[in-house]
């Protein structure tokens, strides 16, 4: 169908999307990079002089930055480990014959549809609250001191909340991948004398490898930008104990109104995300050819 006429029409139809996305990417990105080299604070109107790498050195040497990087990595890593491990277990479980698969499935995927602010608040107040929360009650029942999750282990608590939100995503994708496995392969393995465990380990798990990679990469993209959950639970605190990179940049820019430093932080976040993105894009690109 590669006729001249349709080629021209095609370009015309793609143009609006390309122009919009190009503008969306280039204009703010250019501004962020530009601002990152200026001394620019919204609270101090006046000239915004060019200061070279000052914002970067300020942002990168800020102790909060190091904490934020560590927190970001812990948050991403922690959630990934929990959701992948849990997701594989759940996928295997849901793949078994049982009564009411449909309903269990719906229950398991539901957390994914709960908006981040709601899930964070419900967990914070109704479960983790040291006085009236359900966990406090459970602690009471078994006779231990109630634990103040968000004060004593803020980051771990947030990891827990975020894992609850993303576990369904991992489960759903791994389950889909698992069900796409040709059953004849499993039957062949069974004829070859493989036990249930070796069938899982040698056939199902390698088949899932690709889906796991997809889950890791996509979740990483989203997890690097976790924001609402931190905002409504701990505000990054106590201190900077639960501040991640995204929250730190937000705090610099919109709480301290330091546009220059915030922008420098933004550029750092972009670079980090790009490292992950390159791997993800390569995978998806391969799939396009297939």
């Amino acid at each position: 169908m590669a006729t001249q006429h349709s080629r021209a029409a095609a370009r015309f139809m793609i143009a609006p999307s390309v122009v919009l996305l190009l503008a969306w990417m280039l204009i703010p990105l250019g501004m962020t990079i530009y601002f990152s080299f200026l001394r620019y604070n919204l609270l101090m109107p006046g000239a915004n002089p060019f200061v070279g790498w000052e914002n970067y050195s300020y942002f990168l040497t800020d102790p909060a930055f190091q904490t934020a990087i560590v927190n970001t990595l812990l948050l991403v890593g922690g959630v990934l480990v929990i959701t992948i491990a849990g997701g594989i277990a759940l996928a295997v479980l849901l793949d078994q014959p049982m009564w009411g698969t449909g309903i269990v499935r719906i229950m398991v995927i539901s957390p994914f549809f709960v908006m981040p602010t709601v899930s964070a608040l419900v967990w914070k107040n109704m479960f983790m609250n040291p006085v009236n929360g359900l966990f406090a009650y459970l602690a009471d029942v078994i006779g231990v001191q109630p634990y103040d999750f968000l004060t004593q282990a803020p980051l771990a608590s947030i990891i827990g909340i975020v894992s609850w939100q993303w576990l369904p995503f991992a489960t759903l994708i791994l389950l889909t991948a698992m069900q796409s496995l040709d059953s004849e392969q499993l039957e062949a393995a069974e004829m070859d004398g493989a036990s249930a465990w070796s069938r899982f380990y040698h056939i199902k798990l390698p088949h899932l490898a690709r889906a796991i990679t997809v889950v890791v990469l996509i979740q990483t993209i989203f997890l690097l930008s976790i924001f609402a959950e931190i905002l409504v639970t701990t505000n990054g605190g106590p201190g900077t104990a639960s501040t991640n990179l995204t929250y730190l940049v937000y705090a610099e820019s919109l709480l301290r109104f330091d546009v220059g430093t915030g922008s420098a932080g933004g550029v750092v976040a972009i670079i980090l995300a790009n490292i992950v993105a390159i791997f993800l894009m390569r995978m998806i690109g391969k799939n396009l050819d297939a």
Partner: protein, 276 residues
């Protein structure tokens, strides 16, 4: 594997799966139940599960105190608006890329996807300042623009993967049968693409409804959708469990139901076709 599974294994599986399922679903269930309790019952010790005086008071209170309905409508307008506009821009583009692929098509698609990888915080500052200068802060229009743009790559990709499954032969057959471009689109392409467009629509409404970075940073009282409105419960109002629950239940119910219907499409949409 078509083989008889003993009822015993099946019963064990069922028991384990239901227990796990209920545990995972419990926070949502608990929120829904609490929304029908009085504030006192909500923090009763020991907690009450089902046997309490069910009341709708919380729902009316939430509405009266904070004009809940307005935030709800903000969410509706913003999520549906951005999705519909996104579809209008994306359908022609996805059609062209799926059916008239050129040498650059793959690169264009990958590039579009890469814009989605841009962390929002990287462009927070300039966008905030631009919106302030253009008077778009705390407006529905502003949010519709932003959400349209951030979800456009996903919309194009989803449509593209659906369109690509429509065999080119069929469109060529229509052309051989004398169809003009217009009738080709109306009589052949659209009817075959409707399911794909519908699931794209559904998934994107869900994503836009739950978007919680830009909605929190670019709105205040006026155009705040439910994500931002609920965030205002972070303290100290959040300690009124019953009201928090009522507000939350209303915020998640419509999307939860839509989500249940779109679980299959979700996988494809969120993995950009990498897992089907």
């Amino acid at each position: 594997m078509a083989r008889a599974v003993t009822n015993k294994t099946k019963a064990i599986n069922t028991a384990i799966a239901w227990t796990v399922g209920i545990l995972i679903f419990f926070p949502i269930l608990w929120t829904i139940l609490t929304s029908f309790k009085s504030e006192a019952t909500a923090i009763a010790d020991p907690p009450v599960f089902l046997f309490f005086d069910w009341t709708l008071d919380n729902y009316t209170t939430v509405q009266e105190r904070s004009n809940y309905f307005r935030h709800f409508m903000n969410s509706v307008v913003i999520s549906i608006g951005s999705t519909v506009i996104g579809l209008a821009i994306a359908i022609p583009a996805a059609w062209a890329m799926a059916f008239v692929p050129g040498k650059q098509t793959k690169n264009v698609l990958m590039w579009m996807l890469s814009t989605k990888m841009l962390p929002p915080v990287g462009v927070l500052v300039p966008l905030y300042l631009l919106f302030r200068d253009w008077g778009l802060l705390d407006t529905r229009i502003g949010l519709v623009i932003v959400l349209t743009l951030i979800n456009l790559p996903i919309i194009i990709w989803m449509l593209y993967t659906y369109f690509r499954e429509i065999p080119n032969d069929i469109l060529e057959a229509a052309r051989m049968d004398g169809a003009t471009l217009r009738s080709e689109v109306i009589y052949v392409l659209l009817p075959m693409a409707v399911p794909g467009i519908a699931s794209t629509l559904l998934l994107n409404i869900i994503l836009a409804w739950n978007e919680a970075f830009w909605t929190l940073n670019l709105t205040a009282a006026n155009s705040a959708p439910l994500t931002a409105f609920i965030a205002s419960y972070s303290s100290p109002e959040g300690l009124f469990y019953a009201k928090l629950s009522a507000a939350s239940t209303m915020a998640i119910a419509p999307i939860l139901i839509m989500g249940w219907f779109s679980q299959k499409q979700l996988v494809r949409g969120l993995t950009f076709g990498a897992v089907k």
